[in-house]
Amino acid sequence: MTAFAPSPSESALRRLSDLLIARPGLLLMLLLTPPLLWLGVVYLGALFALLAQSFFSIDEFSGTIVYQPTLATYAELLAPANLDIIVRTLVVALVVTALAALVAFPIAYYAARYARGKVKALFYVAVMMPLWSSYLVKVYAWKLLLAKEGAVTWLVHAAGLTRLLDLWLAAPLIGGPSLSVSYTGMVLTFLYLWTPFMILPLQASLERVPATLIEASDDLGAAPGQTFRHVILPLAAPGLIAGSIFTFSLTLGDYIVPQIVGPSSLILGQAVYAQQGNAGNVPLAAAFCVAPIAIMVVFLALARRTGALDAL
């Protein structure tokens, strides 16, 4: 048996391995320390440093940050103009999320319940490709689609619906001089960007709805609408919530889309960007960040309760 005796270095490795297997806690700690250090120090550290700055204020004359704890910045955040920005952004995010759910549901439902084999794979790729393809290219696509001389106007004209488009653009709030500088254009672009993020978790949760359950509901005399409301929708809720986390968070944090497509009034991301950039008011920018963070924390807590985090 001596031929099989492990060499000294091998036996050291084995001793280490045995130690780790005997003490799973130690192994766990070794595994977790590097990623936790990274996220804890780089990410959480930066996040808390930012939040801390929201309790400082800016000296109005010199434009420098006064490092004294104060709530003045939060008072500034609650000024009507800034509150307006937050409310406007929330409305946009809500509309985008609702529309994304509407567009996503048929795709997710078809893929989960009817598509099999090749078709199913095709559906998956068809959702993955737009999800992962370049964000800026997608924004750019909508800029050129929505331009006054662009394809959407041309298509509307070809379909003989120019009057309808003009009426739409003349409407307050959703309208504007052209689609590319209106809320309609901005919402459309957001919708296009974030819909795949809604489809994937929604489909994942719909996959888990047993077909027998839907059949049972049918057999027991429920109309399709009733089955949808009482069986499918409650079971798909975790997916909807998980998808909403994406659509909401992505809309709240975007400052590029509204800069390129949309009206001149700011939304939250732009406000944060402007405050920290040109205005140099990092405390106010940090205070602005508290709004989306608070919203997302509530959202995540809700998601955890419904088990939606596993659907992410």
Binding site: L47, L50, I107, Y114, M128, S134, L136, L145
Partner: protein
Amino acid sequence: MPSDARKTVKKPGRSPLGLRLAAGAGLAFLHLPLAFILLYAFSNEDKSFQFPPPGLTLRWFAVAWDRPDIWEALALSIRVALLSTGLAILLGTLAAAALSRARFFGREAISLLFILPIALPGIVTGIALRSAFNLMTMPFSFWTIVLGHATFCIVVVYNNAVARFRRLSPSLIEASMDLGADGFQTFRHVLLPSIGTSLLAGGLLAFALSFDEVIVTTFTAGQQRTLPIWMLGELIRPHQRPVTNVVAVAVIAVTALPILAAYYLTREGEHVAGAGK
């Protein structure tokens, strides 16, 4: 007959026409805009986004090819993406290995921490990192970009790896140990081959994510221009629209490849050893 019984459950009949139309329209909505980008790359109209294009030309591909600023931006993007992907694979796999099966106090909080960088708006991550670098008087450089990218790439690798770890049958590892392999041998010969493709898939997605990232990058970059930053500049202050069109098409082509590859890798993974319980 049991096989027939299973079939009737699996085949839910024909789909309603309305559903098919809605799903088809939804998919068309997701794909047509990118087709327009492709068309515009060949347009010979260089001042506006006129549709339909008055004529088609290949000229702008040659013009874009000769632009050194584009090549520099591309090279920087690739270097950043490679390094952040490497870091993310390392950290994401460790996290997935630790969290896939273990149950301990604080586990939920830790897994939440891993999703946080993508669950919180990108601008928050960006501005937090920027102010932290400022506080530490760290100059903005290649490295600060990588630091930011790796942070949100970890979760992509983590998600891919954790799904595979969960599917991996624990009896496989126990069998390896029972047959006399130590922990490292088991890792090398059993674990790694089983999770390898999912790591590669996660890595490819992380690469695509980093290659394309702009929201965080604008905050963590100094004078460096990654390709998305170059493109953002062109979107806000257009110099030569047709060149931007051409770059957009090139970017679509470059990002499509890793995504398709990642898809094929994870699809194969459905049949990983031990998955059938």
